[in-house]
Amino acid sequence: MTVVERGRDARAIPPPRKWIPGFAGMTKSRFPPSCIFVKLNDQARERDHLVARNDALEPVDVLIVGGGNAGICAALSAREEGASVTVLEAAPRDFRGGNSRHTRNLRCMHAAPTDVLTEAYLEDEYFEDLLRVTGGETNEQLARMTIVASAGCPDWMKRYSVRFQPALGGTLHLGRTNAFFLGGGKALLNTCYAAAQRLGVRVFYDAAVEAFGVDDGLFREATVQRNGTTQTIRAKAMVLAAGGFEANLEWLEEVWGPAARNFIIRGTPYNRGIALKALLAHDVEAVGDPTQCHAVAIDARAPKFDGGIVTRLDCVSLGIVINREGERFYDEGEDFWPKRYAIWGRLVAAQPEQIAYSIIDSKAIGRFMPSVYPAITADAIPELAAKLDLPVDAVARTVAAFNQAVVPGTFDHTALDDCRTRGLSPDKTHWALPLDRPPFYAYPLRPGITFTYLGVKIDARANIMMKSGSPSPNMFCAGEAMAGNILGQGYLAGIGMTIGTVFGRIAGREAARCATR
């Protein structure tokens, strides 16, 4: 199978910026003229490597389907091995990068404080955290491998000029477990795309893969929707990195019924699972519960797609949450909000019309992260209920009963305090203060889907497993599309990007070796 003649220069990766004598690594330079030179050269290079709209899809060593974090990491890593690489990204350039655009950090094991992480976070603690959130539904071998490899992720990314926030950055109170990208996921992707283009990776935007040509587990070609036409591209190896199907409204409705119509998709509209479905049709082994998704409660006024992080609401644990009938339905103070927000998606989804309302009074103002949409405000509860178009008497009754059930305690929103209710069903077990100081504020809540769990099964080389039980000779997978191997259920903040980076690197390397063997 000689799809591509790999010429000399396919192996010769231009080392970043070194070819200008004396000006190596000058992005970090403080010396003026060189930065100007480098800048101009980079601009020229970026132009060279950007493919024009009408360029044909030429055969390539490694084809990467999906240009999110996992896909770009795979592209960089395949290029490190000397393979020629093409990335197909379904989104236009402005919206490239999938859900990774919306991220802010990745979770990293580390034995000692680093420039981007404080204290230490060791393998066993990391693994226990993972066991806890997944309820044991994980593949220990893959999980531990991911955890150990996560330690090297920040440094690897830094080699491509990715910047992180310093661990001890003055007013910024950053994590022990998670390294934060300076500027967030889009900044990360901008840097990685620039690096990929510098290294000669060809990236096609507006190019959605809709079918695969696979013979007996051997990938031959992909069918692509591009410029309004159907095109094919052949490659010696393929990496699937196209995320889940969370943006596919029809598919969501198939799984969750009509309730899914009221779900909001927090991330990219381009993760429609088309490539995933197409590949699963080729006797590829699936992994992950197709009826599971990660959903959080977000502001109901969020846009249908791509609202990202700003639509979240952090005031739930400071007040009460009622449904359309004006009834409470769950302990709002069970645990700290970051530990609980992921169950509220499903809780709200189970309510009539998939909507709920968080109600707080003025005591809570300033105690939670500000939200992007203004609260609905009133000076009395019945007035607030009327504004929300809820049954006024029922809401008033619920609030009165709640206020009466609050037992005195010492309020502390930074600890699991002793302010709770007694005799309610359900009780609120922490941070319960009577709603009695007007004005009162309400925020509408809806389920917001982060990602789905269905994916393809892989082995430790990121090699896609066939139903027959053997790995495909030349298909690999990384990111959300295989996260189900490690996350049977639940979610650990920051592990999505870790899985994408670790397996992106592995998949890219293995695909390149397979293609250049």
């Binding site: 992005t27 601009q43 007013t171 620039a194 990202g308 992080i309 970051p338 500000p370 920051g494």
Partner: protein
């Protein structure tokens, strides 16, 4: 955009950012924003003057256009900053000088040149400015020292008053007392930021200016301009000291302190301003406020002309052309001085003061909120 629309847009954008905070590592704007839950016009003015429009947060923003949230922090803050210059202008009636600033600056320049020429031909020897003076390089034969000292002394005084007036307005709006301004730790912090251009450095990688890739270019051109300006200022001070302190009259030796300082400074200004102009001309228009182009370019141009005419004067001071060069140089410098308080120069005042306020704020406890990871 009308001012109220502009303020509303600033409030909207900052509300989105405050719920997001991904950019908090880039510059002082975001940590300052995080200390607030609402954004009144005074807060926006302060945040706008902390921003230097580097563009990092625009390229990094997942909500930048074409996203429906259409978040463009540099653009709206630049517009608000421009509006704040008018608001703080002292005396208020002169605020209008910021409108069509480029045109006004050019007119001021023309008037100053004509006045300088007139003045010179009136006071100098009747033979006129193009005649070689009796002693080569004798500036005061063309324009007497007294006239120069009085004219520039008076204008400087007015300029300083206007700048101080503007500063006081800015500071009063911040709600801080004058005493707090003089806190040494805050002044030190602001001075360090300014002298190193900390926020144009991007932790070593530079800023996304003039386009999406990081570069140190703007920082270095700004350094050349800023320190060039300071060196020229120092040259003038030393010259004044020589004149009044030691009774040494210009022209000074090629290797004298004022000439060396002035030459270095002038060269820095030439390169720095030319570079800044070049960067500006190729910079990403998506984050710029086109209405401020006139103001920005007028200031850059006057600085450039000041150093160019100064260096020419130095070079030709022993020739017959000296008189003409001197008069032109004095006219340009006068125009620069006159436009200082009503042009781009004021960014230094308000930005400096905003950095002092930022240092003060940081020394106080902020809001404590649960944080999502």
């Amino acid at each position: 955009m009308r001012l109220d629309e502009l303020i509303a847009e600033g409030e909207r954008v900052m509300t989105v950012c405050n719920a997001c905070r991904y950019c908090e590592g880039y510059c002082a704007v975001f940590p300052a924003m995080e200390r607030r839950l609402t954004f009144a016009p005074a807060d926006l003015n302060y945040l706008a003057n902390l921003c230097h429009g580097c563009g990092e947060c625009y390229y990094a923003c997942q909500y930048a256009p074409p996203h429906e949230f259409a978040i463009n922090v540099p653009k709206v803050l630049t517009q608000i900053r421009g509006a704040s210059y008018r608001q703080y202008a002292w005396p208020s009636g002169f605020a209008r000088l910021f409108d069509r600033n480029g045109l006004i600056s050019s007119l001021v320049l023309a008037v100053c040149l004509v006045l300088a020429l007139l003045l010179a031909s009136l006071v100098s020897r009747p033979t006129g400015v193009l005649d070689p003076p009796v002693k080569p390089g004798d500036f005061y034969a063309v324009v007497p020292h007294g006239v120069m000292a009085w004219a520039f002394g008076l204008v400087s005084l007015l300029v300083v008053m206007a700048l101080v007036g503007g500063f006081l307005r800015f500071w009063r709006e911040s709600g801080e007392g004058l005493k707090t301004f003089a806190q040494p730790f805050a002044l030190r912090a602001a001075l360090a930021d300014i002298t190193k251009l900390e926020y144009l450095d991007g932790r070593g990688a530079g800023c996304t200016y003039p386009d999406a890739q990081q570069s140190q270019a703007r920082r270095w051109f700004h350094h050349l301009t800023f320190y060039g300006f300071l060196l020229c200022f120092a040259a003038t001070c030393v010259g004044t000291l020589y004149h009044y302190g030691f009774g040494w009259q210009a022209p000074y030796e090629w290797l004298s302190v004022p000439v060396i300082l002035g030459t270095l400074g002038g060269t820095g200004l030439l390169i720095g301003t030319a570079g800044l102009y070049w960067l500006k001309s190729i910079s990403d228009k998506a984050l710029a406020d086109r209405e401020q182009n006139g103001m920005d370019i007028a200031f850059i141009a006057l600085l450039f002309l000041t150093s160019l005419t100064g260096l020419l004067l130095l070079g030709f001071r022993e020739t017959a052309a000296m008189g003409l060069f001197l008069v032109v140089h004095l006219g340009v410098v006068m125009a620069l001085f006159l436009t200082l308080p009503y042009g781009k120069f004021v960014h230094g005042i308000y930005r400096g003061a905003a950095l002092v306020r930022y240092a003060l704020e940081r020394s106080r406890p902020g809001l404590t909120m649960g944080r999502e990871q």
